[in-house]
Amino acid sequence: MTEPIPPLAVSSNQPRGAAALAVRMRDVAKIFGSVVANRGASLEVARGEIHALVGENGAGKSTLMRILAGTYAPNGGTVDVADASGQLRDVTGWDTGQAIDAGVGMVHQHFMLVPPLTVAENVVLGREPRNGPVLDRDAAIRAVRELSERTGLAVHADRPVAELSVGEAQRVEILKTLYRGARILILDEPTAVLSPIEVRQLWDVLRTLRAQGGTIVLITHKLDEVMDVSDTITVMRAGETVARMRTRDTSPREIARAMVGREVTLVDDLSLAATRGAGVRERGDAGVRERGGLLLELRDLRVDTPRRRSVVDGVGFGIAAGEILGIAGVEGNGQTELVEAIAGLTAVASGSIRLGGDEIGGLSVRARGDAGLSHVPEDRHRRGLVLDYSIADNLILGRQHHFGGLRLDADRILEHARQHIVEFDIRPTDPALPARALSGGNQQKIVIAREMGRDFRVLLASQPTRGVDVGAIEFIHDRIRRARDEGKAVLLVSADLAEILALSDRIAVMYGGRIAALMPRSEASAESLGPYMTGAAGERAA
């Protein structure tokens, strides 16, 4: 711990005393096996405020909130929650049922909905209005509509959840929690799956709930969200609470410093500077920098999946040497399938993929790699790493045939690992450690080191900084820019618009499996891209 934690500004400013607190967690510890998720974590949330709980990935935010919601029992410390009369009661170690009864509800990152059931049925599940022994459907729909109007959470009460967009499914999750009587609402990274417009709508809902006396804890690591919507901020680092501040008295830079424990360059600073053309490389349409020929070229690419036809629906573009093409869009609009098709992991229905002029559409994954294609996959836990393999073994995944024919050359693998661990600053530095033992940021550095620490011509970078701490984001962005400057072609796919804006030379928006817009960086902004991301604007060619 570096900075002292100031007393909670809110309670010291307004003479409300302990009774005004909705939640008080003190000195909470939580240990999983040999991993310490929380220690000395504390949190004070005043009633009727929007409280942002921020920290890097792995800082222990979700764990702390799951303790509050009763999913985990803490190994130490106390948890107090205000009851209906506003009196704090010790609830340390309660279970989820008790938490729900006491009005504490958590909306998780992964939805827990039953897809074939309707919105109303999902919302009332477990507390159904009954008409004798059977579910009273009309009453359920009425209740949901009433709640929906009161909170501004717009949903179609009678539609099956399976047909909903991600944003609407999330609203259903929130409604479900509120229906169960939540007065204290915990949201775990709610904006990861939302378009900018949906994010703004969510903020409106949270403000409405606050006005109605609700208390909200928002887990996030996005600083712009914190500044937009929160009243108070608690910062966690490495399982501990390291700072507490009032939003209006602080700045993103100060929060970032508390999160990481040192000065960092923020993505927003860069994208802002890039827009203004102040100091940072100005790039984009005018061809400020000379570009080489097309290294990656797609023509009329179509991909069908067993579940859905035309997930990628006639996509074509080219990326020149020394160029980063960013693909923005709400997740689930075909970006995943597009990248996997280029990488050879998903079959292509029709169309062509050329790498440096050569058709690679028919090649195996291995042959594409040897042809100079590097791929940072969006899901490092599923695709990018064999979690139980050592760092050294993970650093050769996909390149194993270059490390021996029959017998793998253990010495070369170790030497290769040592080199990459130093060059890409992977910590801890022991090549024999399993990848599972590393933090998210360092796991991603293994992937980055493997894919970028070798000869390649084209890089597919899919959500390269998802779930990665601020310090590692800076590092990864640096490497991607450097690859571009070395004359590689980069296809960057990210759900994080700030990242797209900060890195790309040209920006495409994917919607419904098609390229809805393709524009130079200089013409793009969150506002101009937003309509394309939701399909509100028609298609627009470059």
Binding site: T63, V365, R383
Partner: protein, 380 residues
């Protein structure tokens, strides 16, 4: 490659991982040894209770059990003989699990291997040098088991048919087919076995050390040790082994790493079948010199227990095979005091205890179960 990382069981998923990694290797040895030891301890306690219900003294029963197995050369020989077959079937199952495949067909693969070895032994000219004949018969055993293993492998690779179902069903097909061939065409009158092989018998241990007189132990046990070493080398030192384990741990990551996942799967099952088939050599070439229906009934299924207790590590499999062989042989020794089925109960308790206590085993069982559910869901 370090060759050791795979022994570490998957850690429970954690929502938070601090930058300083947990001390993984310090606890590795205890982590590897403790659960099986605890499992055996639990089995002993349950055994004590069982023995007491038969009105016997546990100490006495265990004394007799040890005296009848490790207490004399004949007993040791019998344990080694049984452990040899179990090592092969245990290695077969372990190799499958390393590739994420649950081979429950070792029973049929073992029989097929023994049968092919016996038939080749019948076909070779009597004048063939013993070593050459033994070599050909051994290759035949591996081939026989391998073909039986390859069938579910190809079914999985081509059609996605789950190997748990296909391997278990193929057991019945193979055993029935062999039973028919032997009884209809090949048997010696008044018996259920084939004629003796003309050449290729493997030297008995008692031919070298007369003290083992009467026991079935033979030099096939060297082949078993070589197989364990070979499997260890293959899994942890070769590129194919690297790819096979990647497929077993995370098929999606293996696919991303350019591995032909379907190809690895069918080859792994074929190899697994070949290992089980080699177990037939022990009986056919080393002991009776003919194929007999049911010559090793249960050894294939027990191979699953051996692999689980041995934690899918080749040398762990050897140790576990010795343990189960001791229990099995000991059952005969204590038969006068308690029913020999008591030992089977002990084996079952060991398996149950290991299956619940060892994370990697739980993981393997869960993976197989999840795969089955997925297959079932696809069919319906």
């Amino acid at each position: 490659m370090t060759g050791t990382e795979a022994i570490v069981p998957p850690a429970p998923p954690t929502s938070a991982q601090p930058d300083s990694a947990p001390p993984v290797r310090a606890g590795r040895v205890t982590e590897a040894l403790l659960p099986p030891l605890v499992a055996i301890l639990i089995a002993l306690v349950v055994g004590d209770l069982l023995i007491l219900t038969f009105g016997q003294s546990p100490a006495e029963v265990y004394r007799v059990l040890l005296a009848g197995t490790w207490g004399n050369a004949y007993g040791i020989g019998q344990v080694l003989y049984k452990a040899t077959t179990l090592t092969f079937t245990g290695l077969a199952v372990a190799l499958g699990i390393r590739a994420g495949l649950f081979n429950i067909g070792a029973e049929g693969q073992l029989a097929a291997g023994g049968f092919v070895a016996a038939v080749i032994g019948l076909l070779v000219p009597a004048a063939t040098p013993g070593v050459v004949a033994a070599l050909v018969c051994t290759l035949g055993a591996a081939g026989g088991g391998g073909v039986v293993g390859a069938v579910p492998g190809v079914l999985r690779a081509r059609f996605g048919a789950h190997e748990v179902i296909t391997t278990i069903m193929l057991n019945f097909v193979v055993l029935a087919l062999l039973g028919w061939i032997v009884s209809a065409h090949l048997h010696v009158p008044e018996s259920l076995h084939t004629p003796e092989i003309r050449s290729g018998a493997v030297t008995r241990l008692s031919d070298i050390f007369p003290v083992f007189h009467g026991s079935a132990a033979n030099l096939t046990l060297l082949l078993a040790l070589a197989a364990a070493a070979g499997v260890g080398w293959y899994l942890f030192r070769t590129r194919r082994g690297y790819e096979l384990r990647a497929v077993g741990l995370q098929p999606d990551a293996a696919e991303y790493g350019g591995v032909d996942v379907a190809g690895v799967r069918w080859r792994a099952l074929a190899l697994s079948g070949a290992l089980a088939g080699l177990g037939g050599v022990n009986f056919v070439l080393g002991y009776k010199h003919y194929y007999e229906e049911g010559f090793a009934t249960g050894a294939g299924f027990l191979g699953i227990a051996v692999a689980l207790v041995g934690r899918n590590n080749p040398w762990g499999v050897v140790v576990a095979a010795l343990l189960f062989a001791t229990l099995s042989q000991g059952g005969l020794a204590v038969n006068a005091l308690v029913p020999k089925q008591m030992v089977e109960v002990l084996q079952a308790v060991v398996i149950l205890a290991v299956a619940t206590a060892v994370p990697s085993v739980r993981h393997a069982v869960r993976t197989a179960a999840a795969g089955l559910v997925r297959t079932g869901a696809k069919r319906s």
